[in-house]
Amino acid sequence: MTQFLQACFDGLALGSQYALIVMGFVVIYRATGIINFAQGGALILGAYMTYNVSNTWGWNFYLAIVVSAVVVAIFSILLQRAMLQRIFRETIGVIGGLLLWAASVYNGASHAVGVVVGVVAGLVIWQLAARIEARVGARGPSELPLFGAIMVTIGVLFVVRQIVATIWGFGELNVEDPWELDTTMVGDVILQNAKIATIVLAALGLGLFFIIDRYTRIGIAMRATHFDHEAAIAQGISTKLVFATAFGLAGVVAALAGTSAASGANLITPQIDTIVFLAFPAMILGGFDSPGGAVAGGMLVGIFQNLVKTYVAQPPGWFPTDDLTWLGAGFERVAIFVVMILVLLVRPYGLFGTEEVRRV
């Protein structure tokens, strides 16, 4: 029983992280129809911003979370403006400039030189892109197709990894959070304080999101835009504002997810975003466009993953075999994808995704 409760608690903490990550994807998908892979980059940035503010600057940790959330939200909104407001050449310029800055720093240049190289390169690339656009005769604001936008987000993810590595290095860093390795005992179950904090953090972040989504003017506008883009515009709803809000909220939850992934016993590296891919089954289980499903899917997958992990390591007495090591290490990560496939066979829209409301 203790074993079971322990797995459930750990699963709940992991599920909270998944829920935060999935919520970021869902809110953007719902508003714009884009799967924003740059969400992984936002998570990395969130973790490192928290590190930077609390460790390097020595500010209060909770303040660091807030700063991190704000910074990542701004990053997300800027990304959205670049992609969806179709200032494409500027985006290419900025990305190119940042990459060359990173490249020159790797090759031994100082940060000052790197910045100069980056700015010059960015301007050159921007101008080149503008020339090419003029040559191929793209007139006015050309629309970036949805698929193109998704590809751009993947590019942004890789760029962010490199930028973060340039600034903070590839090494493992330990965020000085107030929980460290402390634990609380409830009966025989060991509750890591950092995990309790993760659950609380997720509850706060997701609760805030649900209040905004349900009851505020912009929340209704976001949902209306999702269900009928054109009709929403016809009501005078500003899609620009809706998109910006969606990306901003996604940035906040990504920062929270990043911070919680960096807290407690965990260390951060620029590859911290691998957890994003583990959250995918949760997103697909919950249904792409359902915030409620994001939470439910996240929790289900988190708990299931931990139960599998626990019982594969130590099968229960009634089980015909007591040695499951042949399944291999990390089998729990495979198991969640198996469950995802099974659920999709029965419910292709996920457990909570909207199929389409129709009158009977």
Binding site: R223, A224, F227, E230, I233, G236, E356, V357
Partner: protein
């Protein structure tokens, strides 16, 4: 008919092209004066909806463009305006096929309609007005809009458009797919709304319904206005009677004669 100064909406010689090549409107002019109900009749594909899009700024969503002419609202040019600015200026529309937010509740739909209304007391007043106009919506406030009947959905769509307290209401085929009794209710509501001070541009295929409540009407065919006059005039017009109301000079027409439909039009270009 009022002077030009009275014109609330003034569409002058508008030409609309989709995807850079498809010419849908070929120089359409139309006017809605303050306090009027103006009907716009036309068959499928005549360009009625396109004309509404040209007015509301929704052309861009459909890759359309006004290539000639101008649209003025209250004397101001509005043909390259953001749709939301137009709503703020006082033009609301009920789109073809109702287009309510099916997954949202009735109340949320209405709140979405009041998006541009910042003033809370104004929004509350607008809500009360809608509830008085459509008492059937009151008991269904918390219901998912998509599960309501077609008539209720149309009422919700009109109610949603009225939430912004528009000066001009654009209605795109509000009678579409509704039973005659409901159509009658809708036309009564349009008259009431008009009496409360909202001008109406009513796009319809149901010519009888539209002409019976309209002060003036236009007939749109192949992207051109081919006829206009007062509602009563057009109701009496032989061509309108034959092609839009289905009654010829010799009473009901036989379908055998429909073949010669096009040839016999007296106004054909």
């Amino acid at each position: 008919m009022g002077e030009r100064a009275d014109a609330l909406l003034d569409v002058r010689n508008v030409e609309v092209v989709y995807n850079d090549v498809i010419l849908v409107l070929r120089g359409v002019s139309l006017r809605v004066d303050r306090g009027e109900i103006v009907a716009l009749l036309g068959a499928n594909g005549a360009g009625k909806t396109t004309l509404l899009r040209a007015i509301t700024g929704l052309l861009e969503v459909h890759r359309g463009q006004i290539t000639k002419g101008a649209v003025h609202f209250k004397g101001e040019p509005v043909d390259h305006e953001d749709p939301s600015k137009l709503v703020r200026a006082g033009v609301s529309q009920v789109m073809e096929g109702r287009r309510i937010f099916a997954e949202l509740t009735v109340d949320e739909n209405l709140k979405a309609g009041a998006y541009t209304v910042r003033d809370k007391t104004k929004a509350a007043a607008g809500y009360e007005r809608v509830m008085e106009l459509f008492p059937a919506l009151r008991p269904r406030r918390g219901d998912t809009a998509g599960y309501m009947s077609g008539g209720e959905q149309q009422m919700l769509a009109i109610g949603r458009a009225l939430m912004a307290s528009p000066q001009l209401l654009l209605l795109d085929e509000p009678s579409l797919g509704l039973a005659p009794l409901i159509v009658e209710q809708i036309s009564e509501i349009i008259t009431t709304v008009n009496e409360q001070g909202t001008s109406v541009l009513l796009v319809e295929q149901n010519a009888h319904m539209a002409l019976s409540i309209a002060d003036r009407a236009y007939v749109l065919e192949n992207g051109r206005i081919v006829k206009d006059g007062t509602g009563a005039e057009l109701l009496d017009d032989d061509d309108i009677r034959e092609f839009y109301l289905g009654v010829g000079e010799a009473g009901r027409k036989s379908f055998r004669d429909v073949k010669s439909y096009r040839r016999r039009k007296r106004w054909s270009a």
